[in-house]
Symmetry: D4
Subunit: 249 residues, 8 copies
Amino acid sequence: MNILKLEGLLKGIKSGKTTLDEAMAQLKSLPFEDLGFTRIDHHRSLRRGFPEVIWGEGKTSAQIVSIMKQLRRKGQNILITRLEEKKTKAIQRVFPKSHYYPRSKVLTYLTHPVRTPGKGTILVITAGTTDIPVAEEAAVTAQFMGNRVETLYDVGVAGIHRLLSERERLEAARVLVVVAGMEGALPSVVGGLVDRPVIAVPTSVGYGASFGGITALLAMLNSCASGIAVVNIDNGFGAGYMASLINRM
Amino acid sequence: MNILKLEGLLKGIKSGKTTLDEAMAQLKSLPFEDLGFTRIDHHRSLRRGFPEVIWGEGKTSAQIVSIMKQLRRKGQNILITRLEEKKTKAIQRVFPKSHYYPRSKVLTYLTHPVRTPGKGTILVITAGTTDIPVAEEAAVTAQFMGNRVETLYDVGVAGIHRLLSERERLEAARVLVVVAGMEGALPSVVGGLVDRPVIAVPTSVGYGASFGGITALLAMLNSCASGIAVVNIDNGFGAGYMASLINRM
Amino acid sequence: MNILKLEGLLKGIKSGKTTLDEAMAQLKSLPFEDLGFTRIDHHRSLRRGFPEVIWGEGKTSAQIVSIMKQLRRKGQNILITRLEEKKTKAIQRVFPKSHYYPRSKVLTYLTHPVRTPGKGTILVITAGTTDIPVAEEAAVTAQFMGNRVETLYDVGVAGIHRLLSERERLEAARVLVVVAGMEGALPSVVGGLVDRPVIAVPTSVGYGASFGGITALLAMLNSCASGIAVVNIDNGFGAGYMASLINRM
Amino acid sequence: MNILKLEGLLKGIKSGKTTLDEAMAQLKSLPFEDLGFTRIDHHRSLRRGFPEVIWGEGKTSAQIVSIMKQLRRKGQNILITRLEEKKTKAIQRVFPKSHYYPRSKVLTYLTHPVRTPGKGTILVITAGTTDIPVAEEAAVTAQFMGNRVETLYDVGVAGIHRLLSERERLEAARVLVVVAGMEGALPSVVGGLVDRPVIAVPTSVGYGASFGGITALLAMLNSCASGIAVVNIDNGFGAGYMASLINRM
Amino acid sequence: MNILKLEGLLKGIKSGKTTLDEAMAQLKSLPFEDLGFTRIDHHRSLRRGFPEVIWGEGKTSAQIVSIMKQLRRKGQNILITRLEEKKTKAIQRVFPKSHYYPRSKVLTYLTHPVRTPGKGTILVITAGTTDIPVAEEAAVTAQFMGNRVETLYDVGVAGIHRLLSERERLEAARVLVVVAGMEGALPSVVGGLVDRPVIAVPTSVGYGASFGGITALLAMLNSCASGIAVVNIDNGFGAGYMASLINRM
Amino acid sequence: MNILKLEGLLKGIKSGKTTLDEAMAQLKSLPFEDLGFTRIDHHRSLRRGFPEVIWGEGKTSAQIVSIMKQLRRKGQNILITRLEEKKTKAIQRVFPKSHYYPRSKVLTYLTHPVRTPGKGTILVITAGTTDIPVAEEAAVTAQFMGNRVETLYDVGVAGIHRLLSERERLEAARVLVVVAGMEGALPSVVGGLVDRPVIAVPTSVGYGASFGGITALLAMLNSCASGIAVVNIDNGFGAGYMASLINRM
Amino acid sequence: MNILKLEGLLKGIKSGKTTLDEAMAQLKSLPFEDLGFTRIDHHRSLRRGFPEVIWGEGKTSAQIVSIMKQLRRKGQNILITRLEEKKTKAIQRVFPKSHYYPRSKVLTYLTHPVRTPGKGTILVITAGTTDIPVAEEAAVTAQFMGNRVETLYDVGVAGIHRLLSERERLEAARVLVVVAGMEGALPSVVGGLVDRPVIAVPTSVGYGASFGGITALLAMLNSCASGIAVVNIDNGFGAGYMASLINRM
Amino acid sequence: MNILKLEGLLKGIKSGKTTLDEAMAQLKSLPFEDLGFTRIDHHRSLRRGFPEVIWGEGKTSAQIVSIMKQLRRKGQNILITRLEEKKTKAIQRVFPKSHYYPRSKVLTYLTHPVRTPGKGTILVITAGTTDIPVAEEAAVTAQFMGNRVETLYDVGVAGIHRLLSERERLEAARVLVVVAGMEGALPSVVGGLVDRPVIAVPTSVGYGASFGGITALLAMLNSCASGIAVVNIDNGFGAGYMASLINRM
């Protein structure tokens, strides 16, 4: 249930179209219903003003379909992350209009058009081409949450002129999501070039002493540039969500 | 040199008060001057629209005074972090109007009044009383950068009603900085209660397996709540700076 | 051999039904017999008052069947943990009345009805749905050891009202097992709401800097709430066993 | 405020000695008052049935005295942990009847006699003599919370007969707290000898690859014995508190 | 080439059966020959008095056969460790008398009977049944190097009487190899019961915070018992070799 | 009490000089007496055939003197490790004939002459001069336990000819203790040159990524040479003790 | 585009064969073109004087072919690392003259003959045979960049005479690449024998506490020999590249 | 003894000024003499062509003076690193012409003028001002070994234009030493701008998750730029030495 629906309900009470009892009944049905295995929190989309998000890992197709049906009934838009491709078939049989992004393993489903609360552009940047799946998770999330998103890929610090030649786009963005593996240096350089919030996303790209993204994570936390905050390794969704929260302001 | 000064300079050119040669001379003097040991980047305050920040650790009083003089000459406001109390004496002899915050080890110096670009309130929250020094570093930074700052201390998750009873203040804030040591759980709970960006700051408060803040850091990175990004352990300054960037939007 | 059997034996001696020699022979057969690959400790069920537990990992079906036969002969109830599904076929051919729980990979076998020494209810709580397999291992263990067990799933701290709306059930429990991955914050919140012992179980649920459960483990060890103790990552059995020991008191 | 006081209040209402307004006023004053730097939660002692505990680390004597006065006014018993000896002087000037344990750095203050809800004996065991300060923190906590406590020190596993010769005392205890540094093996051996809950406390005793208690912590978490749960490194208080919760059952 | 062969060679010179030139030729052929991919060090068996050992991991069957042929030509006994079963087929076609131990993945090949330089018994002990493959690697190595080996399996510390009931065998051994995973406590207890050198072998048996054997390794390094030294995780071969060196003394 | 004393006692019984009751009384007094803070295990010197060892860290001078008096009464030789110099004054007032080694922080006290069960020479080797204190702890321990000890210092692998030029001494030793910090490579090279057991001791010598000895410890555990076992970081005592056990064989 | 091509272009301008407009057009086409997924930096080969290198991991055959075509058009020599064998088929269909090295997973493609700027010999050394794939990556890289390369395999420190017998080759080399897993000691010994730069490459060869190459990496960073610098675990390419840079000097 | 001296000796033999016996006597005195606590390797300066280096940490002034006297007698130039200021007084009494650098804790002593084998300029760069002590250690080492050294301080990546404005100096250098703490990103950017070898030095500058330089170390090892090799944390000496080896080529 989204804010528009709630507004309609309250206006119905005011105008007399809806009795108080009916309104109470509908409102009472809002809190999380127990599906046996997961609690869907319908108040949450209200509180946060955003669609419902499902973490696909460790859930069966059947469980996911069951949750999606509940959410569709309430008129929610749905975003599923970390969804293995093999699970999508069963889901898309029930939700044929859902859209799956295989690189980033994200599935989206719309019950109503996406409104655009984002005020400016969110720019998603990667150091290398191998970081793109994580970047795409961020980009899809931010788009789905109503933002204009642009991307700038493969501009790592070892060829700094590649980044510098795009300085206009950097400065035009309102929020920046910077995705990098290996030594994770890109957010520091970007953070020094712009005066906008930078969300840094370490990726597990690399080998040997990259330790599955720990090196990039630590480097980003220790950035000598100000105006940078960090999310978990490979957490493109978290970065896209945070950027969306900021871009609504 | 801040934006006001630059505007004045450009207007002077327009009105004929300043010759192009004079303007060029002044502008040329802007880029980082080499003080021998540190490069001050005067363009930066222009680019970022913020005062100059000096990391006090590992610098002598004499070095700091030298840098501050350069900055004062350019009309910069100055923020020094991680400054041991014993160094302040020599500094305050030269800069008697500077202000030192002993708990958070921050020193501020104003050459011109702080303008208030921040649009709403930044709320700084701590889990315990021992986290307050780090929180104060965040709060002082944000205030110095022109924000209205409120604080809510000692509302850790083991007594969840302490936090819940302040829900109105949580919801009234535009950006939240959440500071916690030990298990670092507070940002997750706060993040679930508000629909605003949360900057999480792990502190080195704790003992044993808290590992000087690593446990809190990891917990915050793995938060199950969305809309949270993390800065380095004990990095109150970084959180205050990031919150200020966001609150200007 | 359980306490009832031993009591019978001793009473037999007293009443003259059993000769001392017969009793000695039976008692002598009690200590661990050498099956070649594993030592079954029949005194243990006597000492601990609980069924025999077998760690299924790294044992073949044939080895497990051989151990189970020995135990059945002694009249033991049997609990096998970490048993891969593919091994159960061969076991259930010999022990058709055994019961396998595929989610938690536990197999139970009863030679005599479970008595109920547990005095109150053990409540098993999870933060997310992905934590349920570990929670089920705890629940099955506790039930098998004679306790009334209730479950409360998917009440993680990012939606704190989901937990708070179940406060009556929290307060009604005599012992609580709290299962969580990611940031592992749930035991801290639960520990602040009840005045009963909380056994915290970190799970390997998460990704990136969750490090296979280390983050949740560290968070639980550093809980700011009192009355919490922790078991190994994914050790649902250990938590169920500990809770059972406490609930007998 | 403890249960007795609350009972008195309610009886006063019933008998007419206390007006409803007076009762309401008193009850309203109960919730956490803001002392500026810390929130004291008077409901908590009611909810948990235990005295108020203050973590002394990082608090000044003045802050502690201020908190203690608030608590004394409410009739609370007080336990302060991790209190450096040099801070006690100022405290004992105001609270001359408080008692300080220098080895374990604990201070206790009684406003009313300790009642004894503990049903049996809590046995506190150490592997070596260097573990005694942590053990004493556990013992003092448990005694202060109304338990009969016994101790058994220096019975580490390298001289297993020292432990075995005390088997009667092990079996007589209702709850056991086992404190060990270095390889942390003692809880495994004790856990195999008793059928009572064992709270394991790793200590930072050791050098080199003991890593300040990490080795002992990991060993205890991986114990092959059942019926063991673990608290943080050097957390004697936590173990004493947990044992007290269990011993009340 | 072993010491007997060398003695024969030198005696041949003395008696005139071998000319100096022939002897020189044979001796010259001893040093490592370059097989292109590996250097076999024939002097080494002479220096160390032991058979040649090949680490099977990362070598193809063809490479191993090539090395074995070189060694057979010199009259060496051969021990191959970490040899996957699938590689043995090709090897046993060329060396049909070689013997493969599938549990411990060791292959042995004799060119001459094993002499028995070991003076007493080496006792190999495990904590659990899952540790047996590593123990077997130690036992096979020690047997192959001419020692009388006995085994004592599944006597972990959680059932300490299982170990104590075998005390005579412990005391009869000249060197002890103690193999344990999980909390790795067994060497400490054994070390306290005997006055003979104990070689401790941590195994990767366990889960969660056992970290693939790190916990057991750290526990063994921090043993409070004296007379213990440690080898790498799962390094049964290293323990068997070290025990053999000691048992020859 | 040592073996000689026990033999005397038993002979006294045989010859009639000692009544059985007297013998029993004396024997009964043998087991560990409770000094309140530590349990001295007099049987242990009998079982292990070695003097009693006290870990000095964390014990006061008064505690140590009290333990030493008990041991002297039983006729034990005493070795105290990790004893800070400032504690020795009070000890040497009571035990003026005790000997303190300031570099290695070891104190020894003889109640009877050291017998020499060691059969050959133990050679203690260091990589650098900074490793000498740990090496001396090993050397003093081994000497005190009746071994002939030689030392070979500062022969690290970066100047391999320094080591090779001492090859005769390496080959003459019966057991070798090899002490090294930094990259910990020396045991591998020594292990390849001799056919005797090598006890490797990592030291905390180094900086940066030496991590207080972890690097050296890991290197030694992963040695490609056979016949090496490892003790804890800086554990010279443990190495000297282990070498003594081996050299008695 | 390489230096020869650029020289040709500039000479063409000088001689009048090329108009300025044509030259500008060609030069403008040089900077990185956006292939959609990766930015090829043609200036780079100019700046660095070396062929273009592609990291094969995480790229599809189609992506690689597309990049290679772009590079071939510019006349670049191409080196692809970490290329799984299964991807080579599709590549070699388009580039039949490319050469694939299956052990080191490197593919090379020549558009013009390799010039030989290297002045001396680069010697690539390994400790064991299992390190050879990484060594080959270094050797192929260095050869492809125009150096004379020699190899010396399986000369680990446990048989130090194998290395010492090759001392002449060590001293003849101008730059040395030393590749080792396990304890990573070889660079220290080599560094002590030569007065030339040593590039140390840790490999993930080993098991247990080798931690996938971390032990070797740490050992090399802590080498007591001077003149050693280290690259990432298994980074043969990086070592070959660095050695080539040095050998050109 | 340096090469000049050796040449003189050999020429003396040739010309008849020195008898063979005298020469032999002098040459024999060269190998490491045993000073009791340290072995000075006089051949080494010959082999490596560089002065003798002493690691000052853990050595007393008296020990250092003793070593220096030995070296002076042989005509060596001497470099002492990690020498605490308080030790210099005693040294400079005996060696008044020695020079101490307090920031980098290096002492140098010349017995003969420094020759200049370095062919170009070594450029030492730092990210911040706090990295300067480590950089100075590198610079002093390189100068002492006969190189022209330039420095470029405080050009960290958060203000990338500071670095770019010095591009000419970067390109003019023959070898570059890049020193950085925190996120350690500077070598990646520098490595992308030059075609010369870059020696990267991580420093322990930073706090929280910088872990005493580990973050910078890992970032440098994972650099996406080629032509970079890394030395230990804070190892300015090692970098200066490596750069000198390369610059002689």
